[in-house]
Symmetry: C2
Subunit: 208 residues, 2 copies
């Protein structure tokens, strides 16, 4: 119950409803993980943020909160994937990321910022707790210095320039030990049947 | 020597020079891996393809070949990263991806296509040879059906929609067993000193 309260306090000014909390916890692989995507720019970042959000969902996070420009089209696109491929997964806009991070910490959550300047993932993955909700912060090109101080851990997925999408995928894959890629999604209308060649999609329920 | 000939035949109509081959092999982590990015669209994909290319470099591939629109700005951007952060790494445009894949196979190379419709990574990673050059094919939104037939292996990084950037990162991370994230890059002018907080970049040689 304590954990649920923490998640509830941490996720937004508006407390999550019990349905949202239940949805966010059902089918979870372990500790609750939420992504915070900083400084989204509606035009410039629309595809990268979409990839960050879809990677978050596919690799076992409960949801994504983003700051910068509010972007209803982005939210619709992600929720359309959730409607067809299943959940639970949420996306939510947060205008004040500083306050959001502070609330997350005040609610007992852990904050892990992915940055090429941080400690190597293999040197610090053990510092990430398994019994507290985790906020994974991924920036855009310029990350305000303040983030480095607010984070409990600044973790580098290698120290080379690459991609926040790649960094997030590696973090989640290592954190969940690969189990996230076998997860079944609830309420899915579509499912893939793996094939050596070609494509096979199974329609599970109703119209798509 | 056989392996060098294979790489040479496979990479392009124009044979690689001995300097290119040497560069592509120096500092490599294991078998040669080259990425083929299909159907690049200059405007729409410029950032995603940049992320694919930077992820390829940071995670141990020797280079990337792309088809679709030729994009000199993309090439300059990637080679600018190589100039500052080190290599070896190449980017090259290939107008005829079918012929390129056929040449790769004719030269003894293996072709692994990353697709959500394929076999789960954990069920087929063992099929990827360790003694042949590997071409990893990553598509854009629509991948021509022909690719599924040309590939030696269609591999799914999970069966959910997400991102070619994430898929490539996971493939390379699993293939190299994480060692790619400790690799030293040759000729780097910049290097990061890992820190718990903030940023530290070391200038290694000359002007940046």
């Amino acid at each position: 119950m304590l954990k649920l309260c923490r998640i509830s306090k941490a996720v937004g000014k508006r407390a999550m409803s019990s349905v949202e909390i239940r949805k966010a916890r059902e089918g979870s692989l372990g500790p609750e993980i939420v992504i915070l995507r900083l400084s989204h720019r509606r035009e410039r970042d629309k595809r990268i943020t979409t990839h960050v959000a879809l990677t978050a969902r596919a690799f076992g996070a409960s949801g994504i909160v983003y700051s910068g420009d509010e972007d209803k089209k982005l939210e619709e696109k992600i929720m359309d994937v959730v409607a067809r491929w299943g959940g639970p997964f949420f996306i939510r806009y947060e205008p004040d990321w500083r306050a959001f991070i502070r609330r997350w910490k005040a609610g007992g959550g852990f904050v892990c910022h992915l940055t090429m300047y941080g400690l190597h993932i293999d040197d610090c993955m053990g510092f990430v707790p398994r019994d507290r909700p985790i906020l994974v912060v991924v920036g855009s090109e310029k990350v305000p210095r303040e983030v480095y101080g607010l984070a409990d851990l600044n973790m580098a997925i290698g120290h080379q320039p690459h991609s926040e999408v790649a960094a997030l995928a590696i973090f989640l894959d290592r954190f969940f030990g690969g189990s996230e890629l076998r997860r079944e999604f609830e309420g899915a209308k579509l499912k893939i049947e793996p094939r050596e060649r070609g494509k096979k999609i199974i329609k599970l329920v109703g119209d798509i």
